[in-house]
């Protein structure tokens, strides 16, 4: 009887897992093959990509850019997800170094915490390329990233121009202490300070849509007059938009960052004033391209800035 119940529980779990797998068959078709079938075609080499999180559309697009380029150049790409956890990142790097990769592409969870992981690769003489976030130490061949400070400045300049140089703005910040939050905030604040526009509130909403909604709701309560909102990513901007709409406040300009699909759609619908497009696909793709150059022994520069662009209606 007891065994029967165990069996029942187990089969429920299996059923659950099965349901998931069948529910999404279409999505996974081209992502899982890499590690199982190494000898299908003779790959030129193996590239490891350790990515900070696949929980965020931005990094998913970055990964897709890398995958596409790798397929095009004929490399096998091994992707590992650090789930925004630096210790997971370290063990991911250890694991991927065991697999005999030629170059390590790493998109760090945190610039300081990644240093040991970079040094591990250095010890094994595996060249390291950092993507999107830099590493504070260790030997890195190339750093490929969009210039977040310039992006923040771009957003500020757009707001200054739209408001004719006067008004009150609110800033929703990303996860405190991350370099993206720091740099975007820095570029934005410096440019705003040079104008007559006043930053009346700067609050963290952790790059999260749900928090963007609730933090914006609270700020709307505190501030009777708001002309524009700059959000350090699109997820927060879309949450803030929802809060502004629900509160029935009008004439507030919302500017996001990252140009995710949802945000670009909101810009087209005239809801979001603008978003700053990083090109995650280009970052991923350039990552693999420079990995190829490093493998072929070409000289490469230390820093490859990836262009940003302002997306408006």
């Amino acid at each position: 009887m007891k065994n029967f119940k165990k069996l029942l529980a187990l089969s429920l779990i299996v059923l659950f897992a099965f349901g998931i797998l069948t529910g999404c068959g279409g999505n996974t078709a081209n992502s899982g093959g890499g590690s199982d079938t190494p000898s299908q075609t003779e790959a030129k080499g193996k590239i490891g990509l350790v990515i900070s999180t696949l929980n965020n559309p931005f990094f998913v697009t970055l990964k897709e850019g890398a995958e596409e380029k790798a397929a095009q150049l004929g490399y096998e790409l091994v992707v590992l997800d650090s789930q925004d956890d630096s210790s997971k990142e370290l063990s991911n790097v250890e694991d991927v170094l065991q697999q005999g990769i030629d170059v390590l592409l790493i998109n760090p969870v945190d610039s300081d915490a990644v240093v040991n992981a970079v040094k591990l690769a250095n010890d094994k003489n595996i060249p390291v390329i950092t993507l999107d976030r830099s590493a504070s130490g260790g030997d890195v061949k190339v750093h490929i990233a969009s210039d977040n400070v310039a992006g923040g400045k771009m957003a500020a300049e757009f707001i200054i121009q739209q408001l004719n140089g006067k008004g009150k703005v609110v800033q929703l910040q990303g996860i405190p202490g991350t370099s993206a939050a720091r740099d975007r905030g820095k570029g934005f604040e410096e440019a705003i300070k040079a104008s007559e526009i006043e930053i009346i509130a700067s609050q963290p909403a952790d790059f999260d849509r749900q928090k963007g909604l609730s933090v914006m709701e609270n700020i709307l309560q505190a501030q009777p007059e708001i002309d524009a909102v700059f959000c350090q990513n699109d997820e927060m901007a879309l949450g803030a938009l929802q809060a502004i709409e629900a509160a029935g406040r009008e004439g507030i300009l919302v500017v996001g960052f990252d140009a995710t699909d949802d945000a670009v759609k909101a810009v087209e619908e005239g809801k979001l004033a603008a978003t700053i497009a990083q090109m995650p696909e280009a970052i991923g793709s350039l990552g693999v391209e420079y990995a190829h150059k490093v493998i072929s022994g070409e000289q490469v520069p230390e820093y490859i800035p990836v262009d940003l662009k302002l997306v408006t209606k």
């Binding site: 749900q210 700020i219 997820e235």
Partner: protein, 317 residues
């Protein structure tokens, strides 16, 4: 004679203070905030706090059931995300909002039930069982949504999170309903008494003939259901289901339960306390935003509040 009377009275006063300490904490916090920010004590802001709190309060109600039996449910945030994703994709594919919402709730209930079965039939400690579910359900959400938020839910889905009945937001009304039902079940029904009995002394409960496994399975199912309900409201409020929805929700819910005076050891606590606990967290978040407190201080302050609450909990036992 007089002396013993005094001690008894002292103890009575002490007990009342202990029972009310979360209420006192909430009032104190609110008083400080209304002095610091003239915007805090306005009708629209209080309604705003209630609506924000409702999301955590609903999850915390389910969590209270689990914690009363001496268990813990770490999977609520992930269950929330998975059931939201399913409901959102159904609404996106032109199913009626009612069917999409009911399916989402059913999935929450089912995942909770699976938690319960792993705990009772598999004899796995609740911490581990729900940790596994937390990871599995989050993973399933990411796989299902391919890491992208699911949007385009249509009009029908809008009402449950954004509508009003009279002056009161619908999420607040749902929360009050959930609180009343939970209060009734815990204080007026046999099942409620069994839940307390299992939490305070499992062996004794078993000897009196209570079906412990049934009770335990039930509380996880309830917790899964309330997580999904909160998820449906969040999805409606955001008009989308992000795969990251509800990450960290388990911590806020557990904090609300503990702040409300429910013992993590089980067997002791009440629903009203949980609601007060959720309000404390909601008021704190709201206040920090109103006062424009710097991001670095915010986390510190929240940590201190939780620490104080846990220390008080220890003193009680």
């Amino acid at each position: 004679m007089n002396h013993t009377n005094l001690i008894a009275r002292n103890r009575a006063v002490h007990n009342v203070l202990l029972k009310l300490r979360s209420v006192i904490g909430l009032l104190l916090l609110s008083a400080i905030l209304s002095i610091l920010s003239p915007r805090f004590l306005t009708y629209s802001n209080l309604l705003n706090v209630l609506r924000q709190t409702s999301l955590n309060a609903i999850i915390a109600v389910g969590m209270t059931f689990v914690i009363l039996t001496g268990g813990i449910d770490l999977s609520v945030g992930s269950i929330l995300a998975f059931s939201s994703a399913i409901a959102a994709s159904m609404a996106h594919n032109n199913f009626s909002a009612t069917i999409a919402i009911l399916t989402g709730l059913l999935i929450g209930l089912l995942l909770g039930l699976i938690n319960g079965l792993i705990v009772t039939q598999g004899n796995v400690p609740p911490f581990i069982a729900t940790l596994a579910m937390m990871t599995m359900a989050r993973g399933a959400t990411l796989v299902y949504s391919n890491g992208q938020p699911i949007t385009g839910l249509g009009e029908g889905f809008y009402l449950i999170g954004n509508g009003y009945i009279g002056q009161i937001p619908i999420p607040v009304i749902i929360t009050i309903g959930v609180l009343l039902i939970a209060y009734y079940v815990l204080s007026q029904t046999r099942t409620g008494r069994y839940i307390y009995a299992v939490g305070s002394n499992e062996n004794a409960a078993k000897l009196t003939g209570i079906n412990i496994k049934m009770v335990k399975t039930l509380v996880y199912a309830i917790s899964g259901f309330t997580a999904a309900l909160s998820g449906i409201i969040i999805t409606s409020r955001l008009n989308s289901a992000p795969p990251t929805a509800g990450s960290g929700a388990e911590l806020d819910a557990i904090a609300a339960v503990v702040l409300g005076g429910t013992s993590l050891a089980g067997g002791e606590g009440h629903i009203a306390g949980t609601f007060i606990g959720a309000l404390i967290i909601g008021v704190l978040n709201n206040g920090l935003n109103l006062l424009n407190v710097s991001s670095y201080y915010q986390q510190f302050v929240k940590g201190v509040v939780i620490l104080i609450a846990v220390l008080l909990d220890r003193r009680k036992s």
